[in-house]
């Protein structure tokens, strides 16, 4: 059964062994049925694959019956072993986060009522554009962001995490995946955890904000039914019938740059829409934290800019202006030249897996704090950060003597 399931997904045995932290030969024995998979590992693998642990031992169920829908979504021709490995890693990480939050009593399932409210109030007979915009309005109102005094891109990550959504931003080189979203079942069956991922490789902070909100729309509307949503950097032409993507685009745009935010920011920055300058565009991009193209699109749709103005502004070179206004516009080398003291922090967030996953800074800090407070053991801290115990000690210091 396990062998068939892995072939159906498909995930290589080497990938599974690596994520579980066992020798390939040991995993091979489990797949070949020469040894029973220990319960602890069966739970972990079942979580990665999205099946019940018992399903890994059953022989009478076909792989077609058992393969969860997320893996069907990952059979796109643009998805290879590398991407499936990344999704498997993300799913493993989601389960570890779930364990950590169960251990520390910090689990949140608020997302469910909030997402339900949005889904319930949206009129699904309306156009996808209206659906997305309406959903954004509802979510902004639900989270107390209705006023629109400023951009919310950075702050909303905190909102998502408070809702119980796992947000991971990590590099996945040589991959066309720009973002994805899916749900995992908690190991104790208490509930689902929504997860969004944005590929940071070759991406900017401004682009990534859009990707995260786009994926959030998929979480609300699509990922639960479809198993997962995957978005690629090389976008194939979207047909007019592509309701799902149009709705997610509209949602992301109206979460990040609704007309009310543009008007407030223009006023705050003394922007004259009639004489729209590169400085004005740089100010709006810096304050909304989205790409210039999206700012211009939103401004034109809100009739703050004419079609001609939008076309002209599309040619503005704002790179230097933007770097002067916000550190978010700096490349990683530029940023660390300015803040050399922070360079070591990045390495502390990397898992020992291949490819490494860059874990959220807040999560890493919380795990280390829980170890220091004795809520979890250092060995568990290492497991939760997907690193070896010795690496944990080297990065964060050894616990008090283990006599």
């Amino acid at each position: 059964m396990l062998k068939d399931l892995l072939e159906s997904v498909p995930l290589s045995k080497g990938t599974c062994a690596q994520i579980l932290g066992v020798a390939p030969a040991v995993f091979d024995e489990w797949v070949a049925g020469q040894a029973a998979m220990p319960a602890g590992y069966a739970r972990a693998l079942a979580g990665i694959l999205g099946v019940a642990p018992e399903a890994l031992r059953q022989r009478q169920v076909s792989a077609a019956e058992a393969t969860p829908s997320i893996w069907f979504r990952l059979r796109d021709h643009r998805v290879g072993e590398r991407e499936r490995t990344q999704v498997a890693l993300l799913r493993r990480f989601a389960h570890l986060v779930d364990q950590f939050e169960a251990a520390t009593g910090s689990r949140s399932f608020v997302w469910k009522s909030v997402f339900d409210t949005v889904s319930r109030e949206v009129d699904f007979s309306a156009s996808p554009l209206q659906q997305g915009r309406h959903a954004a309005q509802i979510l902004r109102a639900e989270r107390g962001l209705k006023q629109g005094a400023t951009g919310i891109a950075s702050a909303f990550r905190g909102h998502l995490r408070a809702l119980g959504v796992l947000v991971v931003e990590s590099p996945l080189p040589d991959s066309k995946i720009e973002g994805c979203s899916f749900y995992v079942q908690s190991a104790d069956g208490v509930g689902l955890r929504p997860c969004v991922f944005a590929n940071t490789h070759g991406s900017t902070w401004f682009r990534r904000n859009y990707v995260l909100f786009h994926e959030t729309a998929h979480l609300i509307f699509d990922a639960l039914k479809a198993g997962a949503s995957v978005d690629f950097s090389e976008v194939e032409p979207r047909g007019a019938e592509d309701v799902i993507e149009q709705r997610a685009d509209a949602f992301a745009q109206d979460m990040l740059v609704p007309p009310v935010v543009l008007r407030h920011l223009a006023q705050a920055n003394g922007i004259d829409w009639e004489r729209f300058t590169p400085e004005a565009l740089a100010a709006l991009v810096a304050d909304t934290e989205v790409e210039a193209g999206l700012v211009l699109k939103a401004a034109a749709e809100a009739q703050l800019l004419s079609k001609d103005q939008r076309a002209e502004a599309s040619g503005f070179d704002i790179a230097t202006l933007l770097r002067a206004r916000t550190e978010r516009a700096l490349s990683a080398p530029e940023y660390f030249r300015r803040h050399p003291e922070r360079e070591h922090e990045l390495g502390k967030r990397a898992t020992a897996t291949s490819p490494p996953l860059r874990l959220p800074a807040g999560y890493v800090g919380a795990v280390v704090e829980a170890v220091n407070e004795g809520v979890i053991a250092a060995s568990k801290g290492a497991e939760l950060l997907m690193i070896d115990r010795r690496v944990f000690h080297a990065r964060f210091g050894a616990p008090s003597s283990d006599d």
Binding site: V22, A23, G40, A103, D188, A377, S401
Partner: protein
């Protein structure tokens, strides 16, 4: 930790403690437990996988596999539980081995929120079955205690079983010190008593937690040490 007249049927090893025996090339404790005290050294399937996957110290996984094949160490399963059950005590009389295994897995999933996989299953099995466990990770024990979870009694350290071998005449003081030196050279954890002292010098301040009741105790043996009786 007072011992009764009957020894526990088994002793459970956690990954780190077992690996230390192989790194030190000192697996005498496995023999000592079996031959002198009729106690089966055992590991949970999770620890079995961890030791088989160990790569930091060359040859450990291979030597472990040979010991397992020779039954010097046994993996905890329904068959093992069935064999141990008559010696586990009256409270297990009405419980089937399958039910016992389920109880261990339930407890382990709770422990696993706070300690790593091998520790969780080892401690859960030891607590459920009332068996001693061998684990060097005092930090993990503290984490469980902080969360009001039961811990194995007694919790032995790798050097407790090394010391037992010396006391029971299965090894010399020189053998024990060779093991200590090998662990230090491999940059393995050493208890503070032996960090800068030879075995003979450090034993008095180590407070051994297990003792052979039939021979004079080693200096500094803990008053509540588990007393084993030769069979």
């Amino acid at each position: 930790m007072s011992g009764g007249s009957a020894n526990p049927p088994a002793v459970l090893f956690d990954t780190d403690a077992l690996i230390q025996l192989y790194v030190a090339r000192f697996v005498t404790p496995l023999k000592c437990f079996r031959e002198r005290f009729a106690m089966q050294p055992a590991v949970t399937p999770e620890v079995d996988a961890e030791v088989r996957s160990h790569f930091r110290h060359q040859g450990v996984a291979e030597r472990y596999k040979k010991a397992e094949a020779a039954r010097a160490i046994q993996v905890l399963d329904v068959h093992a539980l069935r064999a141990w059950k008559p010696s586990l005590g009256d409270r297990f009389a009405e419980t089937s081995p399958d039910a016992l295994l389920d109880q261990i897995l339930d407890r382990a999933s709770q422990y696993h929120l706070h300690v790593d996989l091998g520790e969780a299953y080892t401690y859960a099995a030891a607590v459920e079955l009332g068996l001693p466990a061998v684990s060097n990770d005092a930090n993990a024990i503290r984490a469980l205690r902080n969360n009001a979870m039961s811990v194995p009694v007694p919790m032995l350290r790798c050097f407790d079983v090394i010391a037992l071998c010396v006391q029971a005449g299965f090894a010399t003081v020189g053998d024990a010190d060779d093991a200590r030196r090998a662990l230090r050279e491999a940059e393995e954890h050493l208890p503070s008593a032996f960090r800068n002292a030879k075995f003979d010098d450090g034993i008095a301040s180590f407070a051994a937690r297990i003792t052979d009741a039939s021979v004079p105790a080693l200096p500094g043996t803990a008053p509540d040490a588990l007393r084993l009786f030769p069979t």
